[in-house]
Amino acid sequence: MKTTTLKLVTIVTERILEDRLLRKVQELGAKGYTLTQATGKGSRGVRASEWEGPDTRIQSLVSKEVADAIVEYIAENLFEHYAVIVYVQDAEVVRGEKYI
């Protein structure tokens, strides 16, 4: 079975940014995404799921270029004022052309 190596971008951030980020991620070239709920702790302290609801964890399987673009967008626009983390990993898929 022929496989391709793509990039899996994971973003954990405030629920309030979810809609905006999903729009942006797709604009930058992502063909799909998977969402889960998360809580956590980082430099901005504990983010427990309270009135604001839990944080959102976005994962998207994309090409290297799109991954870079997403990371760059977040670094430039969100790092300063929002609770957000983003990291990129390798992932092998079949029918890789579907995601790029």
Binding site: R20, G53, P54
Partner: protein, 320 residues
Amino acid sequence: MEHIITLASNLLSPIILMFVLGVIASLVRSDLKLPEPLYNGLAIYLLLAIGLKGGVELNQTPISEFIGPALITLFLGILTPIIAYNVLRRLGKFDRINASAIAAHYGSVSAVTFIVAIAFGTMTGRMSEGFMPALVAILEVPAIVVGLMIAFTREKRAGSWQEALHEVLAGRSILLLAGGLIIGWIAGPTEFEPIAPFFEAGFKGALGLFLLEMGVITARRLEGLKEVGGFLIGFGILVPIFHGLLAVWLGGLVGLSIAGSAVLGAMVSSASYIAAPAAVRIALPEANPTFYLTASLGITFPFNITLGIPLYYAFAEWIM
């Protein structure tokens, strides 16, 4: 003497004690915590129930009675964020962004404080006007707009003004309150009857359960007290008192009953912690959430539901 009894009767009412139980649970690091979907569901239920009931009673109210209170509420929704902003800037030396962020919260309204104020009234036998929930809907939005306008007038900001406004207007508090009002108004008492047991009989108990969780959440906010400093703590008590007494007085002037004026006082005095934080987070991401959340949720909310509400009722009785 009589006022002390009313105060005690508020402090010892089961729903306030459930709030205290929640605070204690959080302090002893208990696992007691309402599951988030349930807390969420209770919020939906309470807002819808309040809206429905308000609508049913609005259905029976001549519109002329409603105009005065509506206008005065709108006026207070514009005035109070301006007062709060100036206190924070001039006395508190806050920067413009944080001052306007906090001001947006103190101009807007806490639906739970409102509900507790209504419940306190009915428990002590004093019914407020049926259209009060409509006033909550009127009070919620303008202050947030005013608060954000103050921040946006001079510089271009990082956040999005339109998204923030959408967040408030299409937010569930407004939709449920306003939607409930309209549905209740259309339905009237007869059509409301079949669903009344669900939305009326269970109401106060559900409020108690909700306040249990509010206690847990409030207690978590107490950590922020050290960070925010003495000024904001004083602000979180004194400015609400001032706003509240002002509203009680104006409420009386436009013909609200004693209970109605007191409830208006509680509403105006209260600080939003659902609609405003969401809007501010989007429009003013540079503002520090610790300031506005600790103040509104950690200070003003517990102050109001314990001491503030009996105070507004006492003041309303005293001036009328």
